[in-house]
Amino acid sequence: AKMFTQVYGDNGKMKEYHYTGPVEHRFSPYSFNGGTVLAVAGEDFAIVASDTRLSEGYSIHSRDSPKCYKLTNTTVIGCSGFHGDCLTLTKIIDARLKMYKHSNNKSMTSGAIAAMLSTILYGRRFFPYYVYNIIGGLDEEGKGAVYSFDPVGSYQRDTYKAGGSASAMLQPLLDNQIGFKNMEGVQHLPLNQEKAVQLVKDVFISAAERDVYTGDALRICIVTKEGIKEETVPLRKD
């Protein structure tokens, strides 16, 4: 349980401090375990990357807890938020994938997984999974696809998306470097795989510099029609 009181109220002004008497602390089913996830879709590849730090409050529980999970040969999901819900959610998705494979004799496509995840998340609309999900993979035509979700299942297809604790820092950077937004007179070059991987590494290094919950190591999963390749890169450990 936290020992300090919240100094700033909801409207940004400092709260007046006075002793209020005994305060009831309810059990909270949620906890925030940190971590950042990022996905980029290219012409014929998709990249899903996450840091590997698992934290809670001021402590670090583990430096080797990646947040990307392989679902099929063409799809990877990144989940950040509350680690307990991430584990249960990925177990449920794996079970549903197996059932689909046995009933339909084929693997689920990335778009189908995204639609299914939306209904799984909405099934807990009144007691949500505290997980920010991003799915990265190849669609039926072999092009890269990224689907981003909110905790209760609202989703859409994107070209690139950052989620998790450093998402607000990374998203504007991705808008600028991949989407060429907010600058003028720049040539729009298509993104190839090597440039995308280098960009992801640079972006996570920046995140680790400025976000306390991001760091330790970076796990990158590159999805192509040949399969899924994994790469691990060290980040700041402080």
Binding site: K2, S28, Y30, A95, R125, F126, Y130, A168
Partner: protein, 267 residues
């Protein structure tokens, strides 16, 4: 096993029962899932009470301006495209119009997940209606289906303000449906946090005998001025026109460029 139960899979015998039929006719398919509810707490206040304890902050995608009005040549539907989660803009190009079928559109405002889920369910019900009755569902019936879905979960904290727009045997139809199960037929509606600004613009410029181009411009202006003044609306204007032979997507324009164009004439 616990995982089997909680994963929401329907066993083979259940599926067979649905296909062959149990002898009871049902007009609405119950959704395939039960909703889990936190034990012993009021669901609508639960999420807010969990937030900010130990760094937990569950922000759901929200916020909008949408508008629709009927005129001589059909119905105009215009929406913005910003999805906000707390103060963070989660998406600049959210899709807030669901194309149920070539003659029916639904708009979304409020909580993104609620709108996407229930309107997709509505699309499924409309398709089933067409298969069972060999004719397209009327706008009135479609809006009633959505309204009754909302009534089932009234008081549980759902947030949805939607307009069902279509063209059926009775002509152009426009209904407003919200999470309180309010259902209103009308000639002009605007929903979302930017709706007051949009009402000001479309109320002052509306004439029943407008030309099609004037109506497009009015819809665009309504959304643009609302996004200019409302923090939770922005992005692009998505404009649809519902005609007798179906809807067409008219345009998708960035609001910053539009407001620039309008302000040039102002000062």
């Amino acid at each position: 096993m616990a995982l089997f139960d909680v994963s929401g899979y329907k066993s083979h015998s259940e599926l067979r029962g649905q296909i062959i039929g149990t002898g009871v006719g049902h007009f609405i398919d119950r959704p395939n899932q039960q909703f889990s509810v936190p034990v012993g707490v009021d669901p609508s206040g639960f999420l807010k009470s969990c937030s900010r304890e130990g760094g937990v902050s569950i922000d759901l995608n929200h916020g909008t301006t949408t508008l629709a009005f009927t005129f001589r040549h059909g119905v105009i539907v215009a929406v913005d495209s910003r999805a906000s989660a707390g103060s963070y803009i989660a998406s600049k190009e959210a899709n807030k119009v669901i194309e149920i079928n070539p003659y029916l559109l639904g708009t979304m405002s409020g909580s993104a997940a609620d709108c996407q889920y229930w309107e997709r369910l509505l699309a499924k019900e409309c398709r089933l209606y067409k298969l069972r009755n060999k004719q397209r569902i009327s706008v009135s019936a479609a809006s009633k289906l959505l309204c009754n879905m909302m009534l089932g979960y009234r008081g549980m904290g759902l947030s949805m303000g939607s307009m069902i727009v279509g063209w059926d045997n009775k002509g152009p139809g426009l209904y407003y449906v919200d999470d309180n199960a309010t259902r209103l037929s009308g000639r002009m509606f605007s929903t979302g946090c930017g709706s007051s600004y949009a009402y000001g613009v479309i109320d002052s410029g509306y004439r029943e005998d407008m030309t099609v181009e004037e109506a497009y411009e009015l819809g665009r202006r309504g959304i643009t001025h609302a996004t200019h003044r409302d923090a939770y609306s922005g992005g692009v204007v998505n404009l649809y026109h519902m005609q007798e032979d179906g809807w067409i997507k008219v345009c998708k324009e960035d609001v910053s460029e539009l407001i620039h164009r309008y302000r040039k004439g102002m000062f």
